[in-house]
């Protein structure tokens, strides 16, 4: 039932997501990498659902909702910051430091 491989795949995707978060400066893309991480987690849930029953799949729905909500708010925030600094490049966003 491909439990191990799926878990491994989710691990890889998760790591790649993390790597993306490290690598990108563009807030939007960075956020997309986070979405990638969430997807990886979803995969894990679905895979485990084979052993533990439907609940795993149900959780995936919640995760998706969360992802949607975060997406909405996150993109709104990105819009808001864009109004102030005509850019979404995180290197231009460091007024607060020290």
């Amino acid at each position: 039932m491909l439990l191990g491989p799926s878990l491994a795949l989710s691990a890889i995707l998760f790591s790649l997501g993390v790597a993306g978060v490290l690598l990108r400066r563009n807030a939007i893309v960075l956020f997309m990498c986070i979405e990638l991480m969430l997807n990886a987690v979803n995969l894990a849930f679905v895979a485990l659902a084979q052993v533990h029953g439907i609940s795993g799949q149900v959780i995936v729905f919640f995760v998706m909702t969360v992802a949607a909500a975060e997406a909405a708010v996150g993109l709104a925030i990105i819009l808001a910051i864009f109004r102030h600094t005509e850019s979404v490049d995180l290197n231009n966003i460091n007024l607060l430091k020290g």
């Binding site: 039932m1 491909l2 191990g4 491989p5 799926s6 878990l7 491994a8 795949l9 691990a11 890889i12 995707l13 998760f14 790591s15 790649l16 993390v18 790597a19 993306g20 490290l22 690598l23 990108r24 400066r25 563009n26 939007i28 893309v29 997309m32 990498c33 979405e35 990638l36 997807n39 979803n42 995969l43 679905v46 659902a49 084979q50 052993v51 533990h52 029953g53 439907i54 609940s55 799949q57 149900v58 995936v60 729905f61 919640f62 998706m64 909702t65 969360v66 992802a67 949607a68 909500a69 997406a71 909405a72 708010v73 993109l75 709104a76 925030i77 808001a80 864009f82 850019s87 979404v88």
Partner: protein
């Protein structure tokens, strides 16, 4: 046999797409590669006989969320910005991180239902998933009897009623937040 082959095909594609997603200069193409990954995952969900989730995956993720992303990218017109990738040091760091994280997480590949069961029950006698984790078989049967939707809906509105309600609050908060922040004038 067939299933494995398909699984690995989609897995490889997913990984490659993910790689491209995080390395593509252009946000739009990055987004598109992410969509690709999501499609692959949807396919894999089907293989893991979670058909409904697969459908939702396509609809909600690839359909809604990613469109939202693309929309924002277009709106802010950062589409053809110069590379937003970080410098060499971060690449190095990324490799290290992926290495360590992967090194920690990849051992999960050895997991089989039996091992899960054994680790949980800690007794050789109780190494049978169907006994220790009856929900698994129950879930499969439920899908048989009530169809993919019913099987999911039933727990969603009974066992997971509370979380379900919480999600409604969550969405409400998200909507308000998005409106408050994004609206040009209040």
């Amino acid at each position: 046999m067939m299933t494995e082959a398909v699984f690995y095909f989609f897995a490889v594609v997913a990984v490659l797409a993910a790689l491209l997603c995080i390395t593509q200069r252009n946000p739009v193409s990055a987004a598109l590669w992410l969509v690709t990954t999501m499609f692959c995952l949807a396919a894999i969900y089907v293989l893991l006989n979670a058909h409904f989730v697969a459908a939702i995956q396509v609809l909600v993720y690839a359909g809604a969320i990613m469109v939202l992303f693309l929309f924002v990218i277009m709106l802010l017109n950062v589409g053809h910005a110069k590379s937003d990738l970080r410098g060499f040091s971060f690449w190095l760091l990324a490799v290290v991180v992926v290495g360590v994280l992967g090194g920690r997480l990849l051992p999960l590949i050895n997991y089989t239902p039996e091992r899960l069961t054994l680790e949980f029950s800690r007794t050789e006698a109780l190494a049978n998933p169907d006994i220790v984790f009856p929900e698994g078989r129950a879930g499969a049967e439920a899908t048989e009897n009530e169809g993919v939707v019913g099987a999911v809906a039933q727990p969603l509105f009974q066992t997971y009623l509370v979380p379900f309600e919480i999600t409604s609050v969550l969405l409400l908060a998200a909507i308000i937040g998005a409106v408050v922040l994004a609206k040009r004038r209040l």
